[in-house]
Structure formats: structure tokens, C-alpha cells
Subunit: 381 residues, 4 copies
């Protein structure tokens, strides 16, 4: 039973490696989300609705059934998640139910069940149904990146919102004072004037409501200029946040690459961080020779992007992102047994043997750990 | 009396630590600002105004009374501010009255007192009343950050404004020359044509005024393209300014963290700056071991974000942002008495004992100061 | 035959050096692209079409003939491209036909041949004809830079598109629910409502469709604010991507400058990268003395931008971007035989002789290679 | 005569130091530019034109006379400019006449002289008159910064323009094909359709022309999304260019600060660059002690922003941006004779004596130069 649950957890998670069942489940679910959204949108078109009633209903019912089963399955397997494995299963599941992704999953199916018999306004149910499309977020890394940026810059963005609210209030009350009597239907009260203020400050400018007096236009001109400033703020904040998130993601990728190397597997966080500081970035064109066979080895390499062809003992290997080669260079400065060439434009990280030895020399604790591992490795050969 | 003034100063300042009275005053005042704004906005709606006249009046009078008392209190206690403590009290209070925040406070209450009996236009009073909402700036760090960015980039932004004015003038006079006879009501004089020019250059584009001749449209097309450039400028300036402000804020946070450590309390600015340069940034995942008990200590750590669990002598402590641990490592390389693990994703700053000793070795003045402090500390144990 | 093919390949590639035939072919083709586009655009204007029918036809036929010959020529010579030289010629040509630039070339001529006799809609052919202008991309480095940025950030931009789609769906279904009955012609079904949603979220705001109910306006206000956020995302992504592309281009430029120096010609990628790390950037005003004759030489220089006047043995040389001087400084610290001054504002890269010798000292492999080259050079003198 | 020309050159250049005559000429000319622009704008308003005809004429004639005299004066003195001092006076003046600023100066007065009697269209003269306002560029550093950024990024911006043109052509021909028959007055030919395309791609969206068919709207939606991308490009380019210009300006400011110090006056460019690399940036809060009297000196300081109060021998000096103190620290490690404190928030650059001595030790050429200067200075005391 536990193995089955483990297996289903793997299947439902977005597929990473070569897990075929997981890949199929991803494709089926993403297709259903798109189909369902498509059917819902077309179902509101007058002519179409009647002509294809059966087909639309089939899509709707099938997707609701699949989403419902999926929801229950996810609730069952969620305790397999590393972060939820320690707690009590019931409590872990309740926690899971209130994660954003699980809430979206629930909203995707709930309107169908509570809709018909309830007193909830049908219009609200319709908008909620559309939230179903947000389920796609589970499968898009860019969507999640966006979410993390918004979360990280949450306070700044709230501040921008506050500034926008303040400007909307000032613009609306100003226009209410200036043109309240001239255009009572548009600027007769502040809430009405806020419609114009918001459309102007976001630079949308529908043009359905515009000032007509000279004073109103001068005041509007002032507000327009502020609008450009308000527009600039979230751009500055979000591009900063975006750049920082990407940097941290790169950090985590590098960290994972290093900690996957056998030699470094037993090092703790501080030691891996020290090694990371020694890495040098190398951007190489296609077809560049990195290591020539028979040369003295003096560095190990990690592939960040692109592909490297390594030849050793007559065999030829293609290494992709996350893979590494030349780690024996850190153990002993021998004549090289391998040659390596870039097969595409590549970004590599180079760990120089001399830098590494220098680090060991000045760090007794690390040296001890490392020499032990090295001995075992050299014996094992 | 002085102690009472000191106490009220603390209460009125935005609460930072656990000062309950200060927190309550913050919540009450922020709530009143929002309520008052809300009442003012709704009070302009025709139906609403009559139906809820009493409630709106209560909110208005209560908030004016509270704001008035608050203004007088702030005027009384402002001399407690570190920057105003040295001058003459009367002069300090006059200075305070002309700070932007104090002016906004005054504008929030003034229209109520001078409004009814004065000859000032009621419409201007209404807009001024709305500025009341800006009082929220005192409680929003993002608002203040924005203020500092605008202040820092003031000259560049003025330049952008000048460029915008130049483009508006050229666009307006061009359109006046081209379509002045075709659409005399829209482009009959340059001030009128400026309305179209501004709406176009800020990319708002209401569409209430558009060129109709072929020549007018080609000219407008040229202006549109410049408009995108004008739009890009403040964005570039503000995001640069924003990034620099955030960097400096981080600098100040780090500075404060270091100068709060007992060991460094007596160092001067230059010395703290030297120590800051030794700090290494560490981004660690949740659950990473930072220090293991029984190992040789070799660094002290500052928590920047996230939480660290430190265990020492059977006790367990959670350290949050701004706190530090392991400073004994800088005094003597002993076996470690504590173990530390990250409880969440953490950003730490690491001060390596070896780097620190190297700094002392090459800086006789700093070493002398520091050894003295170290001796006292070790004795005190 | 092969030499002819090689020559035509050089002619058709955008000219870089002083190849006159290549420059002429560039100018002719670019002129034809512009002329053809111009003729096509004007050919749709009612009055113009009839009056200048002959001239327009001449431009059309000439350009189609030239473009067709050019297409066939390119197909013939494409195997001369370094990346396609190794494969089988037929296969290489098929691969070439499916590159974006070759597809645009084909689309530019195809409508003319298949147009008249085929059943394809004439309207689609017209739009395809306009794609002809994209042929200009071959001659504009900024166009290609843009292409690489979009390619590099492809996944992030797809994510932004997904977010935009999600927001459009939510906005449209919300408006459909709220104002579907009030404005059935605008919000009567979701596809119609999407028109408004897209115009609002991209901040274009035509104003042909606007909400009229109070609820609709509040909902639209919410969507507007999200629109600013959606706008900010691609800007953040593209400016990041742009900055990185420019950095990498600079890297490649520097790499090429170094590898063109005789002394370094035989070094491999890793060694050149080590030398690159030693380079120091120097931004110098016009008229600054870089090296004085008779001084001890201690650095070699690469010109990045601007011009440097070098005087040696009575001769005066102007060096432009990509050129270098003073490399004898790396071989022996002699009295200088040349003097150099900046003729314009210059960006130089300086390779210090001491840094370079230090590198040699700590890198036995590099030293051996380099000393051998140095000996040959000094003998050759 | 030459001295008089020199003097007028100084007066006409924007004032930098305490030159009163220069400051007055700046104020007079800037005021006249604003007044003249103002008069021209108001002179187009129907009512105003008649009522204030005399006043407007006075402003116009006075400013034309002053601008004409100024133009001739500038032409006379322009040979005093360092960059034009070497050539032949006549040739230098012709060169000057074709600089952008001089052309704007000419355009500001020319319409007045050639206007009445010539056959040039009065409308074009009017727009040219408005260019007069651009004369303000001479006095605004932000304007010039913007000019340099546009110049630096010229090629990229041309590329963006080309992309915009390509998209406008595709959008316009697409819409012409789709809605040419439906809305012949708006999309009947491609030049007409380009008006809609440009308004959409720049996100202005007047709304005077919108697609009405379903196909037209889907196509327009696609174009809108591209529009956001096109918008993002110049923003990315200009903010990059802006950041780089500001960096280089800071570089030049630092360079000037260093080369103004007596000790460094005789160093050449390479040596000053070496010193610049040793500088450490210090951001200090108000009231921080930088140097205490009686301590051992170990650094010299340059003030970048803010003010520092230096006390030495009973005297108190305020040092502002560009000034420096503590340079004796570089000559001998003595007990300090001065104490320094920040009077405002300050950015300082610190040149550490140890770093500086290390530089001298490893740079025989620099040491020789410097020791000589130092000896002279110490003797002079």
C-alpha cells in the first residue's frame, strides 16, 4: 500500500527524468485543462452552444471526473512529500489542502458539485470555473518563478499599490472638485471619478471619460505625468526581484551539481560553499578543446549549459547540463586519460586543482575529510 | 514631564519592537486614516450622503479631533527626536513643522478649521482634504523608500520632465501648424494642442482628440515613437535609483547587525567597514547543518533572513534576522559548545576567524582595541 | 567551380572588411527590399495604384527576379558555411532551407509564383508578401541580437504568455458574468469579452468597449492593476536577457582580440581564459599619453573602442578597435621603442607584464608553451 | 582683444564656479528662453493674442535681438574652446556652426529673419520657432546625459526602430487584407492601416480606428502582444545605456578628484588608474568619526557626496564634494594632526596607506616618481 502511494506520488508530480507514467499523466492532465477551458469559453457563444451541446458536455463531465479523482489521489499521496513526511497524516493532509495549488484544484471542481442545488450566484460560479486554468501553474516553471518573485517583493508591491491608491484618491477628488458640476454623470462623485483616475494612471486611457474644461485638462496633465512614474515603479521592483530569483536559482543549481559529485558527497554546507567560491565560469564556443589527452590534468569541470564530448579509453561520452568530468585532477596531478571538446556553445564551471589544494592547505578540517575520501577512491581503482 | 514626553514620543513613532502602546496607537491612527478617507469618498455619492449623514459626520468629527490632538502631541514631543535634541526647543519645533510629514499632518486638519468661515474656494479645500490619505506614508516603508528614490534621482527626473516639456511643445506646435485650420476646436491654439500631445507622449491615448489629415497622422506617428523613448527614461532612472537604495538599505542593516555585537561595540566606523568587507554571504537550504557540536569553531554568523536553531548546553534557541552566534570563535579556536541548523531557507553572513585574525595582524590599531575587549570578555566568563 | 562558389558565398554574406563586391551586393539587396516594400505599400492606395501602375510593376518584377536568383545562389553556396561544410551537400542544403532566414527568403518569392494560379486566399498571400521586409534582418545586427535574446529567454517569455492568457481568461469570464446581460453585444460571450480583456491588460485601452456598471468598473479596475504587473514582467525579462547577451558579445569580442595576437595564437581555450582574467579595463580621455618613448615597458594594450596613435621609429600609426600594441613588453622588460597617445576617448584593455609573468610562474604548462613562442619571436627579430 | 574674447567665452559657458558674470548671463538667457516660449504659446490663443499684442511683441523682439547678439558672440569666441584652439579660426568657426547646439541656436533666430519675405511655408516656420526651447539643453546636464545615452545606444535603437517598422508593416498589411473591405475608410490601403498599427504597437490605443470582425480582432490581439515586447526593448536598451553612462561619469569624477591632488599631479594615466583601483567606497551616516586626533594616520579620503568637518590646529573646515584630506598619511605614518567627522550622510573614497605603499613597492617606476614628490613636500613644510 505504501509503495503504491509512493508510486502514485511520483506519477502525479511533474515528470523530471525518464518516468513514462509520470510524463503521460502530465500530458493527459495539461491537455484536459486546455480542453476544458476551451470548451467553457466556446460554450458561452450563442450559436456554438446549441450545435455542439453533446461534445461540450462530454468534455466537461470527463474533465470533472478526472480532476475529482486526481484531487482525491493527491490528497492521499501528499504525505509522501518530503516536507510533510514527518507530521501526522491527517494534519499533513489538512495542511496540504490549504496550499495555493490545492485550493486551485478544489476550486476547479467545487462549482460543479455545489453549483446546481445551491443558492450561490451562478455568475460567481462561472468566474470561479475559469480559475481552473490556473491549474496549469503546476506544470510551468515560469509561472512558479513569477509567484516567488511576487512573494519576495510582496511588501514593495503593496507599497506601490498604496501609492497608486493615494494618487487615485487625489486625482479623483481633484477632478470631482473641478468638473463635478460640468460632467455630473462622470465626475459627480469621487467613486465615479476614480474610474477615470485609474484608467489614466495605468496609462490605459479608454477615453470614455475625459476632462473638458481647461483647468480639468491641466490637472489631468499633471496626473498623467505621475502615471508614468507609478508605472515605472513596479517595473523596477519586478525586474530587480526577477534578477535576484534567477541568481538564486543558479546558486541552487550549482550547489546541487557540486553535492552530486562523489568526492564532495560527505562535505557539509559550509565546505561546499567554500568550494563554490573557487569555481570559475567559462563560456566556450563550439568545438573548443577543453582538455587534451596526455596533458597534465589541472582542473575538473561542471557542464552548466550545452554539451561536451569526452573521450576516454576509446569510448566517447556526451555530457549534458549538470554532469561533470576530470575530478581525478583533484586527487593527483597525473597525465590525463581523457580528452574533452565542446559539442555546442557551452557554459562550464572550472574547479582548478591548485586553487582546490590551496583551500585544503588552509583548512585543516576540510583536508582531513577530503584526504580520507580520496584514499578510498584511489584504492577502489 | 520629560519622561512623559519621552514616552509619548515612543508611542507616536511607528512601533518597532514589542511596545504595545505604540502598536495600539499605530493601529488606531491607520484605521482612522482609512475610515476618514472612506467616509469622505462615500460622502460625495448622492444617495449615500443623505442616508448615512449621521455616521459620516461622526467619523469626520472623531477623526478630526484625534488628528488635532495627535498633531499637538507630535509638536510637543518632536524635540525628543535625536536630530532635533541639540537645538533650542522652539526652533526645533518650527523646523519640525516644515518637514513634509508634519505639513501633511497639518493639511489633514486645517481645511476643517479654516473651511467654513473663510473665502477659500471650497473645491480646493476638498482636494486638500484628500491629501489626508498621504498621512499613511508615515507607516509604510515602501512609501518612504519611494520618497528617497525620487529625492536621490531628483535632478535626473527634472531632466526627464524638461525633455517631456520640450517634446510636448514641439508636438503641440507641430500639430497646431498642421491641423490648426482643419480641427480648430482641438488644435486651434498651442495650449489646446498640448492636451493631445501629452496624452500621446505618455502613451495614454484617450482618443478624444486625434489627427485626421494624412500629414497630421505621419507627424503623430513620429511623436508616438518618441513617446516610447520618453516612457523608457524614467523607468531606467527609477529602477537604477531603486536598486541603489535597496543596496544602501542592506548596507545599513549589515552595519547595524555588526555594531550591535558586544565585541565590536567600541570600534569606530572605519574599523566596522573593514570587518564588513570580510563577511561572506551564505544562502542555505532548510535543515542544513551550519556548525556541529564538538567541531573546531572557525567562524561567527549573522542571520540576515530566515531562522536558525542553535543548541547549546541542552538548551535550544531560535535566532531570527539581525541575531548572531558563534562570536567566541573570534576569541579562541576552541572545541565548539554549540550546534546550529537552519530552520528555514536562510541568508547568513559568515565572519571567518582566520580572515578576522589576518585583519588584526595587519592592523595594529584594531588589534590593540580588540585584544583589550577580548581579555575582558574571557575574564568575565 | 569550387572557387567560384566560395567567392559567391563571400559576396552574399554581409560584408565585414573591404570586400567591394560583397558591399555592393549588400547595398543592392537592401535597396531592393526597401523599394519593393515601398512599392507594395503604395500599390494599395487607390489613386496611386492606377497612376503609377507601370513603375510599380517594374519594381515588383525586378525585385522578384533578383530575389529568386539570390535564393538559388544562396542554396548553391550555403555548403561553404563552416557549420555545414562537413555534411553531405544535399542534406546540408535541406538543413539550410529550414533555417529561419532561408524560410523568410522563400516566403518573399513564393507568393508571386504560386499566387495567380492557386486556390490559396489572395489575402493571406498579401500578408505573406509583407514578410519580405523581414529579409532586412540578415543585414541588421540589432535584429539578430533581438532574435538571440528572445531565443535565450524563450521559456520565460512563454511563461509570461501563459500568465497573460490566464489573466485574459479570468478577466473575460468575469466581465461576461458581470455585464453579459447589460452589454450583450460586447460581453455576450467570453470570446467577445476577451477583446476588451486583452486591450486592457496590454494597457492599450481602445475604449471601444468599456464596462458601464459600477460592479463592472470595480472589476475592471482590479484587472487594470494586474495589467501593469503583466507589462512589467517581459520588460524585466528582456532587459535581463539583453544585458546578458551584450556581456557575452563583449566576451567573444575580447576572446577574438586575444586569440588574434601572434604570441597567443597557439594557446588553447583554458589558457586564453586565464589571460582574459588578467585584463584590466581602462577608460581614457582624448589625448592621454599611454606609453612614453624611452620608459620601461610594462604592459600590452588592446583597443576596444576609439583610436590610438602609436609612434615608433619615426612612423605614426592609427590603431582602431580590435588592434593591439606593446606586446614586446611581455617578452622582455626593455626600454620602450614606441610612444602611444589616445586620439579619441578610448576603452583599452591592459595586460600587465608583471601579472602575466606571475601567471606563467604558477602555470608550468603555459610557461613552457609561451617561452617556446617567445624564443622564436626574439630570434626572428 | 584676445583677453576680451577669452572673458566672453567664460561668460557664455554655463557657469561652474563662482563666476558672477557667467551666472548672470546663464540666468538671463534661460529666463529669455522660457519667456519667449511662453509668449509664443500664448500668442496662438485667440482672445489673448489681441489683448496682449504689445507685450508679446516686446518679448519676441527683445529675445530675438538678445539671441542674435548671443549667436554672433558665440561664433566669435568659439575658437577659445580647448578642442578648437589648434585649427585655423575660420575653419574652427565653420565646424562650430554645424554642432547640434549651434544649429539649434541658429534655428531659434533664423525664422524671424527669413520668415516674412520668403516663400517658405509659414507653418513650418512656426514649428521651427518652437525648437527654440531646445536651447535649454545647453544648461541641463540631464538633457546632455540623455543625448549621450542615445548616441551610445544609437545602433541598438535603430535596430528597435527597424523591428518596429517591420511589425507596423506586417500589422498594417494584415489588417488591410482582413478588414480592407469591411472598413474601407480605415483599412482601405496599407498607409491608412499603418495609423492603427502604430497606435496599437506603441500601446497608445486611441480607439478612433478598431477592428470590428472576429478575425480582425484575433489578429489585432496577436499584434497587441508583440506591442508589449516592442515596448520592452527600448526600455531595456536605454536603462542599460543610462546605467553605463552614469558609471562612466562617476569614473571621470573620481579621476578628476585624484588628479587634482598635488601629490598625484605628475602621475600619468596608467598610474592614476592603478591608484583608482585601490580606492574603497565608504558610505557613512551623519556624525560618524572618520579620523580621531592623536591616532596613527593610515588613509587619505576623498569626499564624493555630503560634507565632512575637519578640525586641525584649532581651525574647523567644511569639505564638500571633490575635496580631500589626510594625504600626509601617504607620506609618513605619523600621529594624526587632524580629526574628521561627517556633517551629513557622506560617500567617501578611502585610499589606504598600506595598500598605497604596497603598490609603490611593486612598481619601481611609480615609486621613484612619488618619492621625489614626497621629499619636496616634506621639505616644503
Amino acid at each position: 500500500m505504501e509503495r503504491l502511494r509512493r508510486r502514485w506520488f511520483e506519477i502525479l508530480e511533474p515528470s523530471a527524468g525518464g518516468d513514462k507514467a509520470s510524463l503521460i499523466s502530465d500530458v493527459v492532465l495539461v491537455t484536459l485543462i486546455f480542453l476544458n477551458t476551451f470548451a467553457f469559453v466556446l460554450g458561452t457563444v450563442d450559436g456554438f452552444k446549441e450545435d455542439y451541446a453533446v461534445q461540450l458536455d462530454i468534455i466537461l463531465y470527463v474533465s470533472i471526473i478526472v480532476f475529482s479523482i486526481e484531487y482525491l489521489l493527491r490528497l492521499w499521496v501528499c504525505v509522501e512529500h518530503p516536507l510533510r513526511r514527518d507530521g501526522h497524516p491527517v494534519w499533513a493532509r489538512v495542511q496540504y489542502m490549504f496550499t495555493p495549488l490545492a485550493l486551485v484544484d478544489l476550486i476547479a471542481i467545487l462549482p460543479f458539485y455545489i453549483g446546481p442545488g445551491s443558492s450561490v450566484d451562478l455568475r460567481i460560479l462561472r468566474v470561479l470555473s475559469m480559475l481552473r486554468f490556473l491549474r496549469i501553474a503546476r506544470y510551468s516553471s515560469a509561472f512558479q518563478l513569477f509567484g516567488r518573485v511576487v512573494h519576495r517583493e510582496g511588501r514593495s508591491l503593496m507599497g506601490v499599490l498604496l501609492i497608486l491608491v493615494a494618487l487615485v484618491l487625489i486625482a479623483a477628488s481633484g477632478m470631482y472638485a473641478i468638473e463635478g458640476n460640468v460632467q455630473p454623470e462622470n465626475f459627480g462623485d469621487i467613486p465615479s471619478a476614480m474610474w477615470w483616475a485609474l484608467a489614466t494612471l495605468t496609462t490605459i486611457g479608454y477615453g470614455d471619460v475625459v476632462p473638458v474644461t481647461a483647468l480639468g485638462r491641466w490637472f489631468a496633465g499633471l496626473i498623467m505625468i505621475f502615471g508614468v512614474g507609478v508605472f515605472a515603479l513596479p517595473i523596477g521592483i519586478l525586474s530587480n526581484g526577477f534578477a535576484m530569483e534567477v541568481n538564486q536559482r543558479n546558486f541552487v543549481v550549482t550547489w546541487n551539481m557540486i553535492s552530486k559529485v562523489d568526492l564532495f558527497a560527505k562535505l557539509d554546507a559550509g565546505e561546499i560553499a567554500e568550494i563554490m567560491e573557487l569555481l570559475k565560469s567559462r563560456h566556450l564556443p563550439k568545438g573548443t578543446t577543453i582538455v587534451r589527452e596526455g596533458d597534465v590534468t589541472d582542473a575538473m569541470y561542471f557542464v552548466v549549459t550545452g554539451e561536451v564530448v569526452v573521450e576516454t579509453g576509446g569510448q566517447s561520452l556526451r555530457l549534458g547540463p549538470g554532469e561533470h568530468f576530470g575530478e581525478t585532477a583533484l586527487l593527483a596531478q597525473d597525465l590525463n586519460m581523457l580528452s574533452a571538446k565542446t559539442a555546442t556553445v557551452c557554459d562550464l564551471l572550472e574547479l582548478d586543482a591548485q586553487d582546490f589544494n590551496y583551500l585544503l592547505m588552509h583548512n585543516a578540517h576540510l583536508e582531513e575529510d577530503f584526504r580520507k575520501i580520496a584514499k578510498e577512491r584511489l584504492k577502489a581503482k
